[in-house]
């Protein structure tokens, strides 16, 4: 018995020693990972965090400030269409961050809101406006979206990041933090060697992985602006989304209730919400039963939500041409500034209204920070 205990102690000692040396070497050679002055998951690939979910999970601590800020949430059409770097100059009075994650559904969007709330003080939460980009893909059922062979059934991409370095532990009720969120930055330093090794390994194997997975190289903005889809490509996209959404033509009401819960969760903490109904090319929306299902669920949902103080709805469906889209859902790069301007207009108008309200409340002695 003693021999086994001694061996365990020796091994643990050796582990601590080796890891300490590794951490020291990595800290000296590679600067700590940072999200930059404004968070933008679109830049994740250029950071030590590499992927959008990991970037969102690891960098969120810096959102714990009482500066007025906007956080963009949603899937890849938010990343491509509502670009942080194009919106920020149009709303200089606000901090604009993007924590949109490709492939998100509304469950994952809700998780990102929870992650932000975890690291924010109650005061910081009151200065946060969430912009959520909506479209039918965001309402994919969890059983279709997150039950894939490459993951533990039901784990979202955010869940995977929660468990990856042991910051959370898995329980039957869901992930539970092992590392208190206030120590997130310390945890990020502690796992620095893993971040470095992950980055180094991915960089070293990038070409091989692209070759094996058959993914083509990234296209340039010019190439994406010039894309014209054929009928066959449109059919392929429609078929893809039918399969992706769980081989169904109907969306479930439960996911729209999740949206209402997410909005409630933000409002109850004093935050605000801008719901952006994102457009699709007409050939897509007209031929997709899923879009029709989305529209029939969304109309009453948005109508109910926009009556609530702190919620604004932006409908971007009008004034779009099929030629504005590089594929079935993402706008071309030349269109993104127009989307950014539309959103900025709403944000500025809301900001002005808020300032006016604050000034009025202040003048009448009602405002209490």
């Amino acid at each position: 018995m003693k021999l086994i205990a001694v061996q365990v102690a020796r091994l643990l000692g050796a582990l601590v020693a080796v890891y300490a040396v590794l951490l020291l070497v990595c800290l000296v050679l590679v600067p700590l990972g940072s999200g930059g002055p404004r968070l933008d998951t679109a830049r994740a690939g250029n950071t030590l965090f590499i992927t959008e979910p990991k970037y969102a999970f690891m960098t969120r601590s810096q959102l714990d400030t009482t500066t007025d800020k906007v956080i963009l949430l949603g899937a890849s059409n938010v990343l491509v269409g509502l670009r942080q770097d194009q919106i920020q100059p149009r709303v200089p009075q606000l901090e604009v961050h993007s924590l949109a994650v490709s492939g998100s559904n509304i469950t994952q969007v809700g998780q990102v809101v929870d992650l932000v709330h975890e690291v924010q003080s109650p005061a910081a939460r009151k200065h946060t406006t969430y912009v959520i980009g909506l479209w039918y893909g965001l309402f994919a059922d969890d059983s279709a979206r997150w039950h894939t062979p490459d993951r533990v059934a039901g784990d979202t991409d955010i869940d995977i990041e929660r468990y990856r370095y042991g910051f959370y532990r898995r329980t039957p009720e869901g992930p539970v933090p092992l590392l208190p969120p206030r120590y997130l930055q310390a945890g990020t330093v502690l796992v620095h060697p893993y971040l470095v090794l992950d980055r180094a390994t991915r960089d070293a194997t990038k070409s091989m992985r692209s070759f094996i997975s058959g993914k083509s190289a990234a296209t340039t903005d010019e190439e994406r602006n010039a894309i014209v889809l054929t009928k066959a490509q449109q059919d392929q996209y429609l078929s893809f989304w039918h399969d992706y959404m769980g081989s169904t033509d109907e969306l479930k009401e439960a996911q729209f209730q999740t949206l209402r819960r997410v909005v409630d969760g933000i409002l109850v903490e004093g935050g605000e919400v801008v719901l952006v109904d994102l457009p699709l090319p007409a050939w897509h929306s007209q031929r997709s039963p899923l879009w029709r299902s989305y529209a029939s669920h969304m109309e009453p949902t948005l109508a109910a939500l926009q009556t609530r103080p702190g919620v604004v709805v932006v409908r971007m469906g009008a004034d779009n041409r099929d030629d504005d889209f590089g594929d079935e859902v993402h706008p071309k790069p030349r269109v993104a500034p127009l989307w950014a301007a539309r959103l900025a207009k709403t944000l500025n108008a809301e900001g002005d209204a808020r300032q006016a309200n604050l000034a009025r409340d202040s003048a009448s002695g009602l405002h209490v920070e």
């Binding site: 018995m1 061996q7 080796v18 370095y165 997975s213």
Partner: protein
């Protein structure tokens, strides 16, 4: 409790510490009993889910005791039939109608290996080799040992009983050796096999997805198929042999000397040689309880001396076909069995004909030349890797793949892979030979307690690093069989 989880590591450590808490063999046996119970219970949510396993164990135990007390051929056949019928029913073989199946979920894991151990006891009881009765505790500890319950190795009862009666004595080198073996096992399962599983999933995903597969040209499709087959083979080997390393290492700490299941299978120069190195305890079991009795029956039926070698060909075909079919409950495993059977019988036939034509001496001399060795190794690996396709596709997918490849494409895949493997083996042997000559492990700097533990720590960090790359811990593949 999956074997690759931290929960299992903690569990195994507690069992090892408790096993060493007293020198009493009775104490160790009770600790093992409690550990086995806890391990099995960890896989179910409700007691009802254990009921079929408990009933199956009871049936096996009572059958063995009955045959031991009244060893007759009739009793043996009744017992064999009832045990095998229960097994087929509980395993939900696909040819069974739903009306035959139990209408609730239950624990299926471990059933195959319980069956192997029970049949071994039953046949030995019939042959009068089981002199003393097996106590219920010993029966449970032997058939449901938490280390071998999932997928073996299949220990013989005599070996289990001998170890059970020996007091556990550990020394420092043995403890370190056990820890090294366990860490090596995790390195194989959680790092090497996980990487190859990831590669395999990526490539096979494209092969099996109709749109992606259609985009492949014929040579690219063949190349992708070979790549998937190789990745699956490497994944399977490291996954299974890593599992064996873990359970053997934990066994050493708990006073169990479990049999080895692998002996460098990729050194095999023929299909039959391969199966004497791969999943060895399963091969031995089939040799003892299927091949040998079958050969005996055939020899009694066909007494001609000239027929002797050909009887072995037939016996190999039947044995390997059954062994292949054992791997699963659907029709694709029948194909797998036939491929294994064909491989074994053709291999035997080749040996018989080559010896007849060349003479034993010339054949042996030819087989010992370097080109013959590497080509044989390549052909063996290629055959096994392509046969394993049956374990990662269903019947429709199997026909789709080989239909697209055609006879020529399949032959090109086989010989191309064989030649590639032969070249790779040659390069590997040359490099590892040069590395071995450096004798780093023998250097004093690497032999101290601190250095050896630092080496283990590095391996653990490597495991943790690779595990952090993937979204879930790799499953232990053989638990499904």
């Amino acid at each position: 409790m999956t074997l690759t989880s931290l929960g299992f590591v903690a569990f195994a450590l507690v069992v090892a510490l408790l096993s060493n808490a007293s020198r009493s063999v009775e104490w160790r046996s009770w600790v093992l009993l409690a550990a086995n119970g806890a391990f099995i219970v960890s896989y179910v949510d409700r007691p009802l889910h254990l009921l079929p396993l408990a009933a199956f164990l009871l049936l096996c135990f009572s059958s063995i005791e009955l045959v031991r007390r009244r060893p007759s051929t009739a009793a043996l056949w009744v017992a064999l039939t009832s045990i095998l019928a229960s097994f087929v029913l509980l395993k939900k073989f696909s040819f069974l109608s739903d009306a035959w199946l139990l209408p609730f979920p239950y624990l299926l894991m471990g059933l195959s290996y319980v069956l192997f151990r029970a049949l071994h006891l039953l046949i030995d009881a019939r042959q009068g080799e089981l002199k003393e009765p097996v106590s219920p505790r010993d029966f449970f500890n032997y058939t449901c040992n938490f280390l071998t319950f999932t997928a073996g190795p299949i220990q013989r009862f005599e070996a289990y009983r001998a170890q059970r009666q020996q007091p556990l004595v550990l020394d420092e080198p043995r403890v370190f050796q056990a820890f090294s073996r366990i860490v090596l096992g995790f390195l194989k399962v959680a790092a090497v096999s996980a990487v190859f599983d990831n590669l395999f999933q990526t490539v096979s995903g494209r092969l099996l997805e109709a749109h992606a597969a259609a985009a492949f040209s014929a040579p690219a499709f063949a190349l992708a198929f070979v790549a998937a087959a190789v990745c699956y083979t490497v994944y399977l080997y490291y996954n299974f042999s890593g599992y064996v390393d873990i359970v053997v290492g934990v066994g050493w700490l708990c006073g169990q000397d479990l049999p080895e299941n692998f002996n460098q299978p990729f050194l095999a120069r023929s299909f039959l040689d391969f199966w004497s190195r791969w999943h060895m305890t399963l091969s031995d079991w089939f040799k003892t309880y299927v091949f040998n009795p079958l050969l005996k029956v055939l020899a009694a039926r066909f007494r001609s001396a000239k027929a002797g070698p050909y009887l072995a060909v037939a016996a190999f075909f039947v044995t390997f076909t059954i062994m292949g079919v054992w791997h699963g409950t659907t029709s694709v495993f029948v194909i797998y069995g036939l491929i294994l059977g064909a491989g074994a019988s053709v291999n035997k036939l080749w040996q018989v004909l080559a010896v007849q034509r060349l003479g034993k001496k010339r054949y042996k001399a030819l087989a010992e030349t370097a080109p013959a060795i590497y080509v044989s190794r390549g052909l063996t690996l290629a055959y096994f890797a392509l046969a394993l396709t049956c374990l990662w596709v269903d019947l429709a997918q199997l026909f789709a793949i080989f239909g697209r490849l055609g006879v020529l494409g399949t032959a090109a895949c086989y010989f191309g892979l064989a030649l590639g493997a032969a070249g790779a083996f040659f390069v590997w042997d040359s490099l590892s030979g040069r590395f071995a000559r450096l004798q780093l492990g023998e250097h004093a700097a690497f032999r101290g307690v601190a250095a050896r533990n630092l080496g283990l720590a590095l391996q653990i960090l490597l495991i943790a690093t690779v595990a952090s790359f993937f979204h879930k811990a790799p499953e232990f593949v053989y638990r499904a069989f």
